[in-house]
């Protein structure tokens, strides 16, 4: 896509966005409850004209409810709301022409073509004649979808679907756009395109609200409203949040130990309030007024501490009061395996064809015991196919694969007993209680008697399920669902863990807890294979295989991949920039 540079946003960043921007939407004391559970609690916010406002927060924070109330699709329980001079609860008819709302699962008809979808929404918005023609021209140009007008919307990639959704939302030239998680399920490349489109819209004078669970997207917004559990934690330009933690964010470099060991040691330091792995480095935030001294807690003397620029997530963590550090009890419960460097997953020329379409083309990888191995790639690149072949859910068309010493062509079910699998979507029995789910999965993995009872009791203890044992799994809060899914995957003490986007959409605290467990079990000799869109998760991996169009295009540690794409203009690329560069390298 030959999109213009992102100058527009730079301009609005340059001027103080607060200074001359009017208010296009505002709420006072907004409340909404569903079945007694408070989704929005006393929300009072302003959305400024001519800016990109990020509505940021983990899943379940209330983002969608907030947008639906503004769009007049959900009625509020209390408080006031004004959108473009109208009350969305009463005057929704007059609002509709000026407002563009793009729901999370955008309402594309997958069995209609791109142009039929556009036609439908143009008719619904009453766009006719010459105006319709020029709008279509402009939008097809803008979204780069002209080549695909006769393709069924269902056959578009995730990124293209979102572009088409945005195009349909833009019909009828709305002044305010409410976009509900347009970045979900979209690979970094398409995400960048979407952001460019949004910045262009703002340059035309429109106002955009972009909701997201990816905290890194907040950085690209002019202003941010940070929601957590239905409440506003922060509202303002993202740099104001950075300011909170200025001077307290550090990178711990050059340690001899594995980064996950360094992290575990460094987090023993009471001066630290947060820590994550970032390639070979460890990112640490110091408590207000405290000085980090990781060496005192077992980190290599060779390691050096270096100040770095804060990110949005650092500020979020600080707002939440930091993360209490704890070692993974789960890891201690797992049998220790020797880290003998033997390959536990080995594939040679692994290939999967669906008809003529080669979904995975001759993938050869070797994963050592106790390694965190990441599979990354754009939507439809073949990473899920590869992942499913490795955990025995899909039979390969050609090639060999050995998992935990079992040849997948022969003993797929034998291999499955030795691995744990956690699906991206909630795949437990929603109507069964937490206890029943654990018992069921223990049964599936052929645990019985004392062994079963002990395994379950241990996990109930580790994940603190005791108060929820009789709660239906489907009714658990998101974070607990994810914990239960992980617990069910590790019940039988597997050698290999397959995690499919394990922390997608969860709040940063839960994500850290998850990675503490994952890092902990890896230190005990468990091998972890992760697929992810989340660049944060990629940073935790020892090595990453980047897959594009069915082929493996790069293999290496996060730092190696970043180094490969470093150049003069960008000497220190982020994981996301490296990803985009490597995928685009491909002819």
């Amino acid at each position: 896509m030959n999109a213009p540079p992102i100058a527009a946003s730079a301009v609005s960043f340059g001027n103080d966005p607060e200074a001359n921007a009017g208010v296009v939407a505002s709420t006072q004391g907004l409340c909404k409850a569903f079945d007694g559970a408070l989704a929005l609690n006393n929300l009072s916010v302003d959305i400024r004209a001519g800016l990109v406002t990020g509505l940021v927060g983990p899943d379940g924070a209330g983002k969608t409810t907030f947008l639906r109330i503004l769009a007049g699709l959900v009625l509020r329980d209390a408080g006031t709301a004004q959108v473009l001079g109208h009350d969305p609860g009463k005057d929704v008819e007059n609002l509709r022409d000026q407002l563009g709302y793009m729901p999370q699962k955008f309402g594309l008809y997958e069995d209609l073509t791109v142009s039929e979808n556009l036609d439908l929404y143009a008719d619904l918005k009453g766009l006719i004649g010459q105006e319709r023609k020029t709008t279509f021209e402009r939008l097809l140009q803008f979204t780069d979808l002209r080549r695909f007008t006769t393709r069924l919307a269902g056959n578009l990639s995730g990124g293209m679907k979102q572009k088409l959704g945005l195009a349909c939302t833009l019909l009828g030239t709305p002044q305010l756009l409410l976009l509900d998680e347009p970045g979900v399920g979209v690979d970094p490349l398409s995400r960048r395109d979407l952001w460019q489109m949004v910045h262009n819209l703002v340059a035309e004078g429109r106002s955009v609200v972009w909701s997201t669970a990816y905290l890194d997207e907040a950085e690209a917004c002019d202003r941010v409203i940070l929601l957590n559990q239905g409440e506003v934690l922060f509202a303002g330009p993202p740099k104001d949040l950075h300011a909170r933690v200025a001077g307290r964010v550090h990178l711990l470099k050059n340690a001899e130990q594995a980064p996950r060991v360094t992290l575990r040691m460094a987090r023993r330091d009471p001066a630290s309030m947060d820590g994550v792995v970032q390639g070979k480095k460890v990112r640490l935030i110091a408590r207000q007024g405290a000085v980090l001294d990781p060496w005192q807690f077992g980190v290599d003397q060779s390691a050096t501490l270096e100040a770095t620029a804060p990110r949005f997530e650092d500020g979020f963590i600080d707002l939440l009061g930091g993360v209490t550090s704890a070692e993974s009890a789960l890891a201690l419960s797992m049998p220790a395996r020797s880290l003998d460097q033997t390959a536990v997953i080995e594939t040679r020329g692994l290939t999967k064809k669906f008809g003529d379409f080669v979904a995975a083309d001759s993938i050869s990888i070797s994963v050592r015991r106790g390694e965190v191995f990441g599979l990354l790639g754009p939507n439809g690149a073949g990473k899920s196919t590869t992942f499913k072949m490795l955990c025995g859910l899909l039979a390969p068309t050609a090639g060999e694969a050995e998992v935990a010493g079992v040849d997948l062509r022969r003993g797929r079910s034998a291999a499955r007993q030795r691995l744990g699998y956690m699906a991206q979507k909630f795949s437990l029995y929603g109507h069964l209680s937490v206890g029943r789910n654990l018992e069921f999965f223990a049964g599936v993995y052929a645990l019985s008697g004392e062994q079963k009872r002990k395994a379950i009791a241990q996990l109930v203890d580790i994940f603190e399920f005791a108060p929820y044992l009789n709660t239906a799994a489907g009714e658990l809060p998101l974070g607990h669902k994810q914990r239960l899914a992980l617990a069910c995957a590790v019940l039988h003490g597997p050698e290999i863990l397959f995690l499919d986007e394990p922390t997608s959409g969860v709040d940063p605290l839960t994500r850290r807890e998850f990675w503490t467990h994952i890092n902990g079990v890896v230190e005990r000799g468990v091998t972890v294979l992760v697929t992810t869109h989340f660049m944060d998760e990629a940073e935790y991996c020892d090595r990453i295989a980047l897959i594009n169009r069915g082929k493996m295009v790069a293999l290496g540690s996060p730092d190696e991949l970043k180094a490969r794409t470093a150049n003069e203009t960008n000497p220190d690329p982020t994981m996301e920039q490296a990803f985009i560069a490597l995928v685009q390298e491909e002819p």
Binding site: R68, V74, V92, R96, G107, L108, L112, L124, C168
Partner: protein
């Protein structure tokens, strides 16, 4: 209606039509299902027994008794197996070798000629485990006995005392071909499936795929929404109806005695009620799976069991008979069977039309009331 509303409605109908055309399962259900079902009812299921294997025990060897046995023998509907012992025949019935047997008592001819004694008796034993078959055997046997009585009358000039109630008559289906009432009735099943099952899915599908949210955000009104679902499926349903009527009439030679326009009128009235029911379920349940299950239970099964299509309503217990009066399929079945077998009998047709119209208004009206413009 504003011009923009017409454009929107047209556009929504076009969208619905494209979805129908591109979904092979919808087209299969609409066009292949009627053909298959009509073939099953037209050829496979036959409530007429062709040849009845009948045992006869004649304890009386007088000429009238012999003539009765011979009359059975010469009737093409019977294959007669004659034995001397009743017990053998009892076993044969139990083993399914014969479908029933006739007992001629030893005093049969004596009673026949001396009216002073009580009337002569013939006993017909049938296999009650298959009630349909049993009824046919009894009815056919009575027919044959009737024929024999007439022969005896012609022979001697003396009337034969009534041995059994012989008078059976088949009105409106003179040839007693069950296909002639089964096929018009089975059209009800087809129309219920096309009308209620297909539409039960369509609004729920919009909710499940998240397209409803986008439609609401685009300002679609509930009238536009419901009409855009009714119109394309009405056309589809009427096409399926025509396929059924044409096949019933020309392929299976079922006579159509009523007029075509009345048939179409009744068909559209029933279709509207079925579409309304499907849309109501879809609107209320918002899940394709639940709506399909519900449609099966409240539309399809009653249409099959309680419409009078398979089981006679008059032979149902009173509470069930009352329940049938609120089932639209019942009115349609009686109207269809009347139109095909008897003609434009307005007493029946007007009652059916009234029932179907009320049901349509009720279901569609409720759907409109239940269609909400808000997500929560």
């Amino acid at each position: 209606m504003k011009r923009s509303a017409v454009v929107r409605l047209y556009s929504l109908c076009k969208k619905e039509t494209l979805q129908i055309v591109r979904d092979p399962s919808t087209l299969l259900i609409t066009f292949l299902f009627p053909v298959v079902l009509l073939c099953v009812f037209g050829m496979g299921i036959n409530l007429d027994s062709n040849v009845v294997r009948l045992g006869i025990v004649a304890h009386d060897t007088s000429p009238p008794a012999r003539r009765l046995v011979e009359t059975f023998r010469h009737n093409p509907s019977f294959e007669v197996i004659e034995t001397a012992r009743e017990s053998e025949l009892g076993d044969a019935v139990r083993a399914g070798r014969i479908q029933g047997f006739l007992v001629i008592r030893s005093d049969f001819s004596k009673r026949l000629v001396s009216p002073a004694l009580t009337t002569p008796t013939l006993q017909i034993v049938t296999d009650g485990a298959e009630p349909n078959n049993a009824n046919f055997v009894a009815a056919y046997a009575q027919g044959v006995i009737g024929a024999w009585s007439r022969q005896e009358l012609a022979r001697s000039g003396q009337p034969v005392p009534r041995t059994l109630t012989l008078e059976t008559r088949s009105w409106f289906n003179p040839s007693s071909v069950s296909r002639n009432f089964l096929l018009p009735g089975s059209v009800t099943i087809i129309m219920t499936v096309v009308g209620a099952l297909l539409t039960a899915l369509v609004i729920a599908r919009e909710w499940e795929r998240g397209t409803m949210e986008a439609l609401l955000a685009a300002g679609v009104t509930r009238y536009e929404l419901i009409l855009s679902k009714l119109i394309p499926y009405f056309v589809l349903g009427m096409l399926a109806f025509l396929v059924c009527v044409v096949m019933t009439h020309s392929v299976f030679d079922v006579p159509l005695r009523g007029s075509l326009w009345v048939l179409l009128l009744v068909g559209s009235a029933f279709l509207c009620s079925a579409l309304g029911l499907g849309l109501l379920l879809s609107t209320v349940l918002r899940s394709q799976y639940n709506a399909a299950q519900a449609a099966l239970n409240v539309a399809f099964l009653p249409a099959l069991m309680l419409s009078g299509f398979v089981f006679e309503i008059t032979s149902m217990p009173l509470p069930i008979r009352i329940v049938t009066s609120i089932i639209p399929a019942r009115y349609f079945v009686s109207a269809m069977q009347t139109l095909f077998q008897a003609g434009d009998v307005w007493a029946v047709i007007s009652r059916s039309l009234l029932g179907l119209t009320l049901a349509s208004i009720g279901f569609i009206g409720l759907t409109l009331i239940k269609t909400r413009r808000h997500l929560a």
